[in-house]
């Protein structure tokens, strides 16, 4: 780790000059992008400074309960995000609950196994390892679950007549939704499949790049990256499957009916 080069805040500020240059061009050419660009940049600075402080605090505490609390807070934010990313989420508390349950089960399971079997820090829940790992797994699972649920619910609403035609022809609910289900699973799996396919050829993953910049041997960094990619893919896969199945069980019933009234009403606007 001897190769680590520390940055000063001045270095960071200099890097922001290029963003300011973009904003200036936007202003001069009346492109109208500068306001949002600056706002988002400032927001990012505040968010990351705060998270840096918080992580430093949690690492210093190095105590299991605050670590668990932080993980649960991340889960709650992710559940909110999963619901917000769907045009027609499940109505009521299930709109949050479905994402939360599936991400908790898949994300926690994979994180705990990775910490106790493979990475094995001491103690196994050490926040320096547990929180970044859970964050990476959760973030990717969240993307997959929200895309899959958005695809599933959108397709059920759009193709209601076709699904009901199959029900009327004596198909069971599971057979009737088969084409819709396949599309939703594809939507949920696409980002992680694309990421796995492109990694190392088109893009160098952020975590691996980070480790290399911090002076870790590239081959060691690759091992870590492979581990993470498998964990992410596994958690995303389990989370997407569980979310889609759970949602289908809510949106159909034992008499092989489609119950789309259990979706939240369509939102105005976007």
């Amino acid at each position: 780790m001897s190769g680590y080069l520390a940055l000063s805040y001045l270095d960071v500020a200099l890097a922001a000059l290029f963003v300011l240059l973009t904003a200036a061009i936007s202003l001069a050419a009346r492109l109208g992008l500068e306001g949002r660009l600056i706002l988002v940049s400032l927001r990012m600075v505040i968010q990351l400074l705060l998270v840096g402080l918080l992580l430093k605090f949690l690492f210093a505490l190095s105590s299991p309960w605050p670590t668990l609390l932080a993980a649960l807070f991340m889960l709650a934010m992710a559940s909110r995000e999963v619901r917000a990313r769907q045009q027609r989420p499940l109505a009521g508390i299930r709109g949050y609950g479905l994402g939360a349950t599936t991400m908790l089960t898949a994300g926690m399971l994979v994180t705990v196994v990775a910490l106790t079997v493979q990475i094995r820090p001491d103690p196994w829940w050490a926040p320096r390892y547990a929180l970044p790992l859970f964050g990476m797994i959760l973030g990717n699972t969240m993307t997959g679950v929200s895309l899959a649920l958005d695809g599933l619910h959108g397709a059920l609403v759009r193709d209601r007549v076709a699904v009901e035609a199959r029900l009327l022809l004596g198909h069971t609910r599971f057979r009737a939704v088969q084409p819709v289900l396949a599309g939703a699973l594809r939507a949920g799996f696409t980002p992680i499949l694309n990421a796995m396919a492109a990694t190392g050829v088109i893009s160098l993953p952020g975590m691996m790049t980070g480790q290399i910049l911090a002076g870790v041997d590239p081959q060691e960094a690759v091992k870590y990256q492979l581990l993470i990619m498998f964990l992410i893919a596994g958690a995303t896969g389990l989370g997407v499957l569980a979310a889609v199945w759970g949602s289908l069980l809510f949106l159909t019933d034992r008499r092989d009916r489609l119950c789309l009234e259990r979706l939240a009403p369509a939102r105005e606007g976007i």
């Binding site: 009327l168 084409p179 092989d256």
Partner: protein, 201 residues
């Protein structure tokens, strides 16, 4: 014989109705009066209460998918899920005579669904339901999108189904059709099924 007892949901009913073997019952009534909801409830496609029996078998005694194979329903808007027509048919060997009766060419299973006219769609949807050999038939405006010649063919098919002892329940706005099928005519008003008063026509 299709026996419906106290069938109701939040939006229609209760409805009591018996359609005898080989009988046709035609339901008329203004839009939004609950005719379609009533048909959907008979095949258990929406939550509902009450009893429905076909030839003595209660629908609750069997899974819903099996009930819907016995009581076939053709909705007003037909649904399609594959690109080719033929992929929607479970027993292709049943198809040729049905297509001929409905005035569709034998190569129509090769057609693309997206290029069907509304009349072709609807006739194919009727053929698709009949391929499963249901014992009772429910149709929601079966000939609304058809020209007179195609209408005649569909009615001929329904007459054959009735002659073989199948009960037929029909929602129609076409008074002539009810007469041509010698149907018993009923009217749905605000979710209640009643006898037709001729003066109300």
């Amino acid at each position: 014989m299709l026996v419906i007892e106290g069938l109701r949901s939040d939006l229609f009913g209760p409805v009591d109705l018996t359609v005898a073997a080989g009988e046709c019952v035609a339901i008329e009534g203004p839009s939004g009066s609950g005719k379609t909801l009533f048909l959907r409830a008979v095949v258990d496609l929406d939550p509902n209460r009450g009893g429905v029996r076909l030839d003595g078998s209660r629908r609750e005694a069997m899974p819903a998918w099996r009930w819907r194979r016995l009581v076939g329903m053709v909705p007003a808007e037909s649904g399609w899920w594959a690109d080719r027509v033929g992929a929607h048919f479970e027993r292709p060997e049943m198809l040729p005579p049905l297509l001929e009766t409905l005035g569709l060419p034998p190569e129509s299973p090769e057609w693309e669904v997206a290029r069907l006219s509304s009349g072709e769609r609807h006739r194919l949807a009727i053929a698709r339901a009949l391929c499963l050999e249901p014992r009772a038939l429910l149709l929601d405006e079966p000939t609304a999108s058809l020209d007179p010649a195609a209408t005649e063919r569909v009615e001929g098919l329904l007459r054959r189904f009735m002659a073989a002892g199948g009960p037929v329940l029909l929602v129609t706005h076409d008074i002539g059709q009810a007469r041509r099928l010698s149907a018993r005519r009923l009217v749905m008003r605000r979710g209640r099924l009643g006898e037709l008063r001729e003066a109300a026509e």
